[in-house]
Subunit: 189 residues, 2 copies
Amino acid sequence: MKFIFVSSNIHKFQEVQEILGDFNLEITFHQQELPELQSESLEEIALFSAKYIYPQLQRPLFVEDTGLFIHALNGFPGPYASYVYKTIGNSGILHLLEGKNNRTAIFKTAIALTFSETDFKTFLGETQGTIAQIEKGKQGWGYDPIFIPLEGDQRTYAEMDLHEKNQLSHRRKCLKNMAEWLQKNKPIF
Amino acid sequence: MKFIFVSSNIHKFQEVQEILGDFNLEITFHQQELPELQSESLEEIALFSAKYIYPQLQRPLFVEDTGLFIHALNGFPGPYASYVYKTIGNSGILHLLEGKNNRTAIFKTAIALTFSETDFKTFLGETQGTIAQIEKGKQGWGYDPIFIPLEGDQRTYAEMDLHEKNQLSHRRKCLKNMAEWLQKNKPIF
């Protein structure tokens, strides 16, 4: 059985599909903007959206939510990464970090997976990194040009091709947690 | 009959109570943190929270949501004013505006008023202003030290006492819209 990945963001689908291929999980895509809760918990946000859409689709599905948490900015932009990107963008983030020594940040992804109205499970994945001094690279989207994963080699996500980013990314770690849990607990999928 | 004002913020209650006194409306306060939707519409956010709490209280109530929309920042921080204040604060906003000529902004309040599960009404109020060059004044809370209402005299909200701010404020305009509507449509209150 294939899961439905529900998101308004086609970029996310492309990443999710590539990553889950490594775990022999096939998915379909349902492109839709979902209502999201204001919360500092990405899991809570993803779960709220998944519970909202389940009655419409009535098939196993998952929703993800991603945030960027910058330490020197007390976690900003956090779960509102998407709105902040649309308004002040990467240049706004770089501006806010001028003169700050600590540029560490964490990219986090949460997934809410749902099998029925009452059967839900959430997963988290995170990647530690630093915020670059300037925007670098053209690949990916969003904050990719300013996020340098710690496990990498000083390049931003946007300086890596999709496959390379997908080896290191917060989203992969979260999807891996989901895939491993599924293998163990729901081997039918 | 008294309306219940539901909010986690005691400062808001104090303002709302003072303002509604001018319109002979008495309220009680129910202090509670409510779930809020992520949305660029303050009315939608307030309505979602009001619909959430109504079944618990089962009495006429209202919820408000306020946002600060800065033009040069494409509307940032908008509906996420509270989270942005907690993380980057007024100094972050001033930093983002360095070198920008246009410092105009709008403070907006939306109210969702509910009489029953199916009887709802929303109101809006807004005050145009500019963002000060530095924080000024000690009164009020949140963005008050950086917001100068256009109708005033170059002082920030935080340089005015509560009564004076309440004559000009976005929150007053919204509450006035609500009070006038109530007089006309629900004279029982």
